[in-house]
Symmetry: C2
Subunit: 201 residues, 2 copies
Amino acid sequence: MRKVDPEKYEAKRRQILDAAVVCFARSGFHKTSTAEICAEAGMSPGNLFHYFKNKNAIIEAIVDEDRRKTSEWYEKANQADDLFEELFKLMQHNLELIAEPVYRKIGIEIFAEAMRNPSVGHLVARNDAEQIAALTGILKKAAAKGQIDASFDIAKLATWIAALGDGAFGRAALDPYFDPTDQAGVLREILTRILKPKAER
Amino acid sequence: MRKVDPEKYEAKRRQILDAAVVCFARSGFHKTSTAEICAEAGMSPGNLFHYFKNKNAIIEAIVDEDRRKTSEWYEKANQADDLFEELFKLMQHNLELIAEPVYRKIGIEIFAEAMRNPSVGHLVARNDAEQIAALTGILKKAAAKGQIDASFDIAKLATWIAALGDGAFGRAALDPYFDPTDQAGVLREILTRILKPKAER
């Protein structure tokens, strides 16, 4: 058996994931073949299977990568002093992401696949549950610090803040006049009204 | 040529649409054949083509029906005295709809199809534009009546209220702990804070 150089292996895996994202965004998950992904990645067909068992494993890896990024983001945000600012930054970052057509298309593909495919659905649900838990944690901490209104049911509030983020995704996908890069002002005002203690609203 | 009884024709068309909704929710738009829809509707295969040119025409009819219902809803809401109450009722009605798994599944199928299929995409975008225009109209009227805060950019506000509705859809689809029937209280509080004049927030 050949020895595997971990760095080279990781680079090759990265190359396949990047190519898969391009293909899935272009043609959709179901209409993309592993041969197309190999062509996009500039590697011979079959080579892909040293890195991913099948097409499903690729979409699972994309979802898992999203999970790691989100979790890192929340961990950093949790250390900050002003948690309202961090929540606003988080929502603003979401607007930046959804401004990218490839991100939006992949997001829709993953969402649709999660509804049909139990293994992808399981991973997406886990990401989502982790994100809601992290959001609830930040909101609780912010409430304890007096940075947001503490009279709300925080778990439900977290759900609706997440809904606002998901909804912005829907707007960016459906409404050609919705420019995510032009929404920071109104988003800040809405978050202020929903979240800030009454005296600061 | 046989004479067509308009009522019978409409009933048959209705029967096909209802069967198609069941099939699309069960297997997805792409995996459903017109033969399956005929079986579900209890009619002989081929009969369907007297009513719909193809599968695409069926999904287009579903989208068009949604459009008519939404437009009727807004027309009625526009006549009411208290427009904040109407907006709340609209959002509450959305929660009732998304509590139904078939509605959610069809919604996701249509959303995904709108992203790939230009003719469906065009219809969905038109529905969406009409809904945003109707929502903007109600918000403007409410602001003129002093029922909501008038200092906001109303067009942007309409977009974010729509985002909240879309986002609730996302929550219902992704989060097994999100019970749409248990959200009216927190939704009302959030809409009050975002929309009501400062003194009433």
